[in-house]
Amino acid sequence: MWIKPPADIPPSEITPAEIYRGRRRFMVTAGALALASGLGQARAGTLLSSLRNPTYSVDEELTSRKDVTGYNNFYEFGTEKDDPARNAHTLRTRPWTLRVDGLVRRPGTWDIDRLLRLAPMEERIYRLRCVEGWSMVIPWQGYPLDVLIRAVEPLGSARYVAFTTLADAAQMPGVTRRVLDWPYREGLRLDEARHPLTLLTFGLYGELLPNQNGAPVRVVVPWKYGFKSAKSLVRISFTEREPPTSWGRAAPREYGFYSNVNPGVDHPRWSQARERRIGEFFKRPTLMFNGYAEQVAALYSGMDLRRFY
């Protein structure tokens, strides 16, 4: 017998099964996480369930977990691509705190467990384009950085957000060599930081971040070159002036503050017109704003992107 649903419930009101199951999964995981963190055992490999956000996910083949976690630029652990995977096991991600200060009404120190519970985890499948000319597609777990920004209430004078990565030579062998100006620093304009695509990130491939990918908390800004997405954050500071960045200091002509992915503006030493997707043979054309132009181009309307590279 077929029971006709009442006509006054539009189909759009009915929760799709996937989302429903997703919510359940999230609640189960939240419980598991609380348990794990209570025991102080949450580390890479701990499951971190999330609900996929299709609005901000691309439908492209994922880069293998092996490549995502084995081919990294994280100079604090060495400058070769396989150094981070080899050396990052010495990073202690518990206990971990993130200081949020500067031009905010509610400065303070956030424990990683409190951050993990601040908002429901979303899965975002983002493209990652490295300034060196290679790219990946990665499923991240996190929530919009704007959630945290709202919680700390920036003052009207705040125009930029500065990120600082841990720089502890005892845990990070690469820091003993001054390849870059440690600690690693990055920054965004406040409106970029508040953009819904900017993700405060805790996991990838459904698990807490492996150390070499920036555990326990990092930022992911998918329309900019990878180095803008600072890892293993210990401080987020709100400023009035554009904050200095490590790569900007190392080579100001090569790494501008904006560093938006732009096939039309070459790195002074190599072309940015194409990229090699890890796992593919043929290079593919690089997309403006890494394919996120529709969402982010308005942030830069009227700006000369050749000048503000």
């Binding site: 092996k66 490549d67 084995g70 081919y71 100079y75 400058t79 691509k81 396989d82 060196e132 290679w134 060599r177 390849v179 870059l180 190392a250 080579a251 070459d266 030493r269 190599w270 072309s271 017109a273 194409r274 090699r276 890890i278 796992g279 043979f281 043929f282 290079k283």
Partner: protein
């Protein structure tokens, strides 16, 4: 006094050096077959071939100083083979770039050569190597006479270009190119010193000057 190897022994030494020079290529092929070139195999292959071209270039440049310092004159008879292996790896390095990395995208390749200084100097180093490889035969040596050694002095330009090619490619960590630059500086510095001494120049020539005085 160290005895020179007999011609039979020299043949054996040559065969051993030949085999040794093929080991890096063998390693790469093995890694390729066993899928252990990492996440970016094309980059790994291109870099490894470039590394070995540069290393063998420096080994070739080391033959004369080592020969003079040790008195092992027969070492000179390995030099041509080493130089040709440097060229061999340079050819493979260029092929890896053209075929694997760019897949014959000539417009991009041309732009790279013209616009990217590190590729410009690398390509120039390769182009200058070609006449050296072509004139490496005994017949060519005879035909060119004194001009042969003049021509082959190009190596003193090629090697610095090759190091520069590496140095300008690196993003921030120049340790490796700096190491090659240091080795090259020693190899060229020794020659400069000898050259200055032969002409009775400079201050670091205690020997001849003392005798003359």
């Amino acid at each position: 006094m160290v005895r020179s190897p007999t011609s039979r022994q020299l043949t054996g030494i040559r065969a051993a050096v030949f085999a040794l020079c093929l080991i890096p290529l063998g390693n790469l092929l093995f890694d390729a077959v066993s899928d252990s070139l990492g996440a970016n195999p094309i980059e790994a292959v291109t870099r490894a071939l470039g590394d070995w071209a540069l290393r063998l270039l420096l080994v070739t440049l080391a033959v004369t100083p080592v020969r003079r310092l040790t008195g092992l004159g027969w070492l000179a008879r390995l030099r041509r083979m080493l130089g040709l292996f440097a060229f061999f790896y340079a050819v493979l390095h260029l092929l890896a770039y053209v075929v694997l990395d760019q897949f014959f995208a000539w417009d991009f390749i041309l732009k790279d050569i013209l616009k990217r200084p590190f590729i410009t100097v690398g390509f120039l180093a390769f182009i200058l190597l070609v006449p050296l490889a072509v004139t490496s035969t005994n017949a060519m040596m005879r035909r060119l006479g004194r001009n042969w050694s003049r021509l082959h002095r190009l190596i003193y330009l090629i090697a610095p270009l090759a190091v520069l090619h590496f140095w300008w490619m690196v993003k921030a960590d120049v340790r490796e190119p700096a190491l090659y630059a240091a080795v090259l500086a020693v190899l060229l510095g020794v020659r400069l010193l000898w050259w200055a001494r032969a002409r009775g120049l400079g201050v670091a020539h205690a020997g001849p000057v003392a005798k003359r005085a």
